[in-house]
Symmetry: C2
Subunit: 248 residues, 2 copies
């Protein structure tokens, strides 16, 4: 099968490594020419280029860009592709993206492989990143059954555990377990850094126990990721945040 | 040196094992006769009894009971001890306890060894529990210098890192790094369990990532511990909670 991957970071790079090892032909697309060079060196792709037109005969295309670039990428792909091409994405928020893409390209099934690392980028990609991790697919009533079957098979070939639910159910579940913890944790770090007494702040940093390190870990990551989560999963995050504040 | 330890749980038991291995004579006190028997079997103490009167010739006494039992224990000890006996405690909140004990027994220095385990009780005590962990002492203007010197030396002999600050500074620092994370984390668990849609709740539990597990870990412990923290470190916890809510 010829599989196109748009976005050659940790997720896109790892997908390329694994599927290429299974004999699929991988066409990798990156905005940056030097990432394309690295993709070829690392064995992530058979062909790597900055031109989306290289995807015109792909059987499957995985959108593995940052969340905000997914729908604009599909808009650019629409005039290029033949209608049999099956699209999927790896975005961590689904409802808004799925409805936008379905309107542009019906042969699409939303996806979310729930694997990651502290580091990002193609340099840390690895073929077994998804082994044992959840891979959520979010087909809707209008998703072609063949598209769901095709992406199910590809995702399971990664060694991941397949879950299927609606885009809205996905977004509420990840609001609880992923987006809300990031906000809770980031707020903890920021509140602590506002301590007015420098001696207390220094002492807190010296004494910081494993309890603090664990609770604050996920909040210490990229601020952009938090903003993206809040923007693309706004309704579900706001609802879970309201219930959280009440508990607190 | 003869060292009395009141409360033979994880902390009291571990102190006994370590100091006894250094040649000190350990008198262990527990409310429960079977814990005294185990203390002797495990090598935690040379003498172990339920009677506080066994402490009448102790050089140093460590109060290692739960927070709420520390001051009542000192009240019972006052008529028994000779004035040279140096008292210390291991409570995780200091200001209220230190001022209450100083009024009863001037020869006292507050302490807080910041070591622990998921399990509690004498069965999991170990001599090296404190190695590399912070041990905070909170002397005040009225603490005798010899008392501070004596407890400093004993705590450093555990291999721990000694920090000294005021009781109020201690309480603000631990509110940030220990008490607040427990509340933040417990609220996250409770808010999530209130999800009304059983399918979303089930999905959330299946997908729960390391981010959620880390952020919710410290909140999953004993509810009594959280209540004790909130009661004994009320002012500092409320202040940090207010700043946290504002950040959120």
């Amino acid at each position: 099968m010829q599989i196109g991957i748009v976005g050659l970071g940790l997720i896109g790079g790892s997908l390329g490594l694994k599927w290429r090892s299974q004999g699929h032909q991988i066409v990798g697309i990156s905005r940056r020419a030097d990432t394309c060079t690295r993709a070829l060196q690392l064995g992530v792709a058979d062909i790597a280029t900055t031109a989306l037109t290289a995807l015109k005969s792909a059987d499957v295309i995985v959108l593995a860009t940052p969340l905000s670039a997914i729908v604009p990428t599909v808009e650019q792909l629409v005039p290029i592709l033949h209608p049999e091409t099956c699209l999927t994405d790896v975005g961590s928020a689904k409802a808004a993206i799925v409805s936008a893409i379905e309107a542009l390209w019906p042969n699409f099934v939303g996806g979310h492989p729930m694997a990651g690392k502290a580091e990002s980028g193609i340099e840390v990609a690895e073929a077994n990143l998804f082994a044992g991790c959840p891979y959520v697919l979010t087909p809707t009533v209008s998703t072609p059954q063949e598209a769901t079957a095709c992406i199910s098979e590809l995702s399971q070939s990664l060694g991941s555990k397949l879950y299927t639910c609606s885009p809205a159910e996905h977004d509420r579940a990840v609001a609880w377990i992923s987006h809300l913890p990031v906000m809770v944790s980031a707020s903890l770090i920021r509140a602590c850094l506002q301590e007015a007494d420098p001696k207390v702040l220094e002492l807190a940093q010296q004494l910081a126990s494993s309890g603090f390190r664990d609770t604050s870990r996920v909040g210490g990551g990229s601020p952009e990721l938090g903003v993206m989560m809040a923007r693309h999963n706004r309704a579900a995050v706001l609802e879970s945040l309201a219930q959280y504040r009440q508990q607190l």
